[in-house]
């Protein structure tokens, strides 16, 4: 099991709100992988939309996404989809 890391930026004008948080959790659960978000010294598993919202990431701020998995392509695919969800 390897660990892959990517950085995503919240471009949505209302920040990390209910809709993108829900989309991200759905994607993470479907992937079956362990995904963690790191932001401003805090860390949260991306299996809970409420926890992601509670991080209160604002527009223009960056999140580090850490994915535990075997396949770099799959991990990069997930990271780019997460970035898409955060475009608003």
């Amino acid at each position: 099991m390897a660990s892959f890391t990517g950085i995503v930026e919240v471009l949505d004008p209302i920040g990390m709100h209910a809709r993108p948080a829900g989309q991200i959790v759905k994607l993470v659960k479907e992937s079956g992988l362990d995904v963690t978000f790191q932001y401003d010294g805090t860390e949260s598993k991306a299996n809970s939309a409420l926890r992601l919202m509670a991080m209160k990431v604002k527009t223009g701020e960056k999140i580090t996404v850490v994915i535990e998995g075997d396949d770099e392509g799959t991990a990069n695919g997930i990271i780019s989809q997460i970035q898409d969800f955060l475009k608003g």
Partner: protein, 538 residues
């Protein structure tokens, strides 16, 4: 003689039905310690959340797109891993299911606190918490109405969540509180459900009684029959010219089509908020222009009066930053948004100008929530620099009502929003059901204010329309014409009946009816005097 109770009638439809009292929600029981163990509590919790998911599915099926999206998000939170982890910790420490889930929701509500963007989500979490705990305690929060029968619902007042659950069996509605502009009243008028609101004695009605709901008589009659219903003044159906133009209020292209099938002479109020309230990003000028062109093309013949965005922190537009306010109706709303969002209002006017050109329609634009002549002048200059519009303002604040004479040469027209003018004139929150009686348009304080605006507008050469709910009442529309109001705008469902009334009177007769209304010293005597004077013209 059967017992009768006075209230404020809504609409012209009467109905007889069986009383169905909707009790106020019971309080939730206090949290306790588990006597059945964590695992059994977890099973109960899963059962309750599944039931709430099913309830939300039912609600989402009948809701508009934005509301349905919120219900979808709420369903997801009920099954949120983070939430259930916290609930499980509390179960393992001995809490009962209600305490565990209540504390888990509270934990997230606390995390969301202090951030304006999450204020509404906190309310959603608390609503979910209440729903799950109600299921655990076996308390019904829903109305659970049958599909068939003839029910007259009796309650304190009904929220949008309540009215969304009305079934075809609901033929009448009686509320103890709430006024003529309450949510209940607006829904009942639109759906032609017989309704009487502000019935002080409604608490004495009990399940199973037969009642007549008689809105024209402003009363409820226990054991009354439909033949006892007060007859509305009937006006012959005619296409004769109306004393003043009768326009229609619309919010969507579908409304515009409905209005075009009526006798409406143009549109007196096109509410533009719907285009923005459900958008997460600002639509481009091209998108806005296309949406407006669709509405303008479908609208009834005549001028189309478009109100620029009327949003505030209680009606937030997602892509405009609208911080929480203590008193949103007294806050940064309507034209006041220009300080922070001038470009947004300019874009809206640019889009309207493009739609005006592409459809060849006559477009008037007006700004809501104007309090000073300077604000009116600022809006007029902006609108005239962008498009070939007639330019006007809404009259909702008492402050601008006192300066209509000074609008000469500043704007071409004004349009009175009687719902908000009443709210600000009487210092009576439209959302507070206890204050409904103050928002009755027959209140002498309002009628005198309308008379002053009509007179001052005529002297200033500024045309004066009325687009509030009050103009949907045919008798009140005659009063307005007599007060010097130069056009009215009604809900599409009321345009024809208002048109027939205004085609049946002369200006002299309307002035006599208005004088009678002005002689009343309270709402009931003003209305009675006006109806008597109107009957005398027939």
């Amino acid at each position: 003689m059967s017992k009768q109770m006075k209230g404020l009638g809504v609409g012209l439809t009467a109905a007889v039905g069986t009383v169905h009292v909707v009790a106020p929600a019971q309080p939730l029981p206090a949290w306790g310690r588990s006597s059945i163990g964590a695992e059994a509590e977890m099973d109960r919790l899963r059962g309750a959340t599944a039931a709430v998911v099913a309830d939300l599915d039912r609600l989402a099926a009948g809701a508009d797109h934005t509301t349905a999206e919120i219900f979808e998000a709420m369903k997801m939170w009920l099954e949120d891993d983070g939430l259930l982890e916290i609930a499980e910790e509390h179960l393992n420490e001995g809490s009962d299911a209600a305490g565990a889930i209540g504390q888990a929701f509270n934990a997230f509500a606390a995390m969301f606190e202090g951030d304006a963007a999450f204020e509404e989500r906190i309310a959603d979490l608390q609503d979910l918490s209440r729903r799950v705990q109600a299921h655990l305690a076996g308390i019904h929060l829903g109305l659970d109405l049958p599909q068939t029968g003839r029910l007259v619902l009796v309650g304190e007042d009904f929220s949008p969540a309540d009215t969304a659950q009305f079934t075809p069996a609901v033929v009448g509605v009686i509320t103890r509180a709430g006024g003529p502009t309450s949510h209940t009243a607006i829904i009942c008028r639109a759906r032609s459900i017989a309704a009487v609101v502000s019935v002080t004695d409604a608490g004495s009605l009990v399940d199973g009684q037969t009642v007549l709901v008689d809105p024209v008589g402003d009363r409820v009659v226990v054991d009354g029959s439909i033949t006892d219903a007060t007859k509305p003044l009937e006006f012959a159906d005619t296409d004769a010219a109306t004393l003043i133009p009768v326009r229609s209020n619309i919010g969507t292209a579908a409304d515009a089509k409905t209005a075009a099938a009526t006798k409406a002479n143009g549109v007196g109020l096109f509410r533009t908020e719907l285009l923005y309230l459900s958008a997460s990003t600002q639509p481009s000028v091209e998108q806005q222009a296309a949406s407006y062109a669709e509405v303008l093309a479908a609208a009834p013949d005549g001028p189309i009066v478009v109100r620029t965005i009327d949003a505030g922190s209680d009606k937030p537009v997602p892509f405009l930053n609208m911080p929480h306010e203590e008193n949103p109706s007294l806050g940064v709303r309507g034209f006041r948004l220009i300080v922070e969002h001038r470009q947004f209002i300019a874009d809206q006017l640019t889009s309207l100008e493009a739609a005006r050109k592409s459809t060849g329609r006559e477009v008037w634009v007006m700004a809501p929530m104007i309090a000073t002549v300077d604000e009116a002048a600022e809006f007029a200059a902006l609108a005239r620099s962008i498009g070939d519009f007639k330019v006007g303002i809404m009259i909702e604040t008492p402050a601008i009502s006192m300066q209509v004479d000074r609008l000469s040469g500043v704007v071409d027209f004004v349009s009175i929003g009687t719902n908000d003018l009443s709210q600000y004139l009487f210092a009576a929150d439209r959302m507070n059901p206890a204050l409904g009686a103050l928002l009755n348009p027959w209140q002498p304080g309002l009628i005198r204010m309308l008379a002053k605006i009509g007179t001052d507008g005529a002297a200033a050469g500024v045309s004066v329309g009325v687009c509030g709910e009050s103009a949907s009442d045919p008798a009140f529309a005659v009063v307005l014409a007599g007060l010097g109001i130069t056009s009215v705008s009604a809900s599409p469902s009321q345009v024809n009946v208002v048109s027939n009334a205004l085609a049946s009177v002369t200006l002299e007769q309307a002035k006599a009816v208005a004088a009678a209304a002005l002689s009343g010293t309270d709402a009931a005597s003003a209305k009675a005097a006006a109806l008597e004077a109107l009957a005398a013209t027939r």
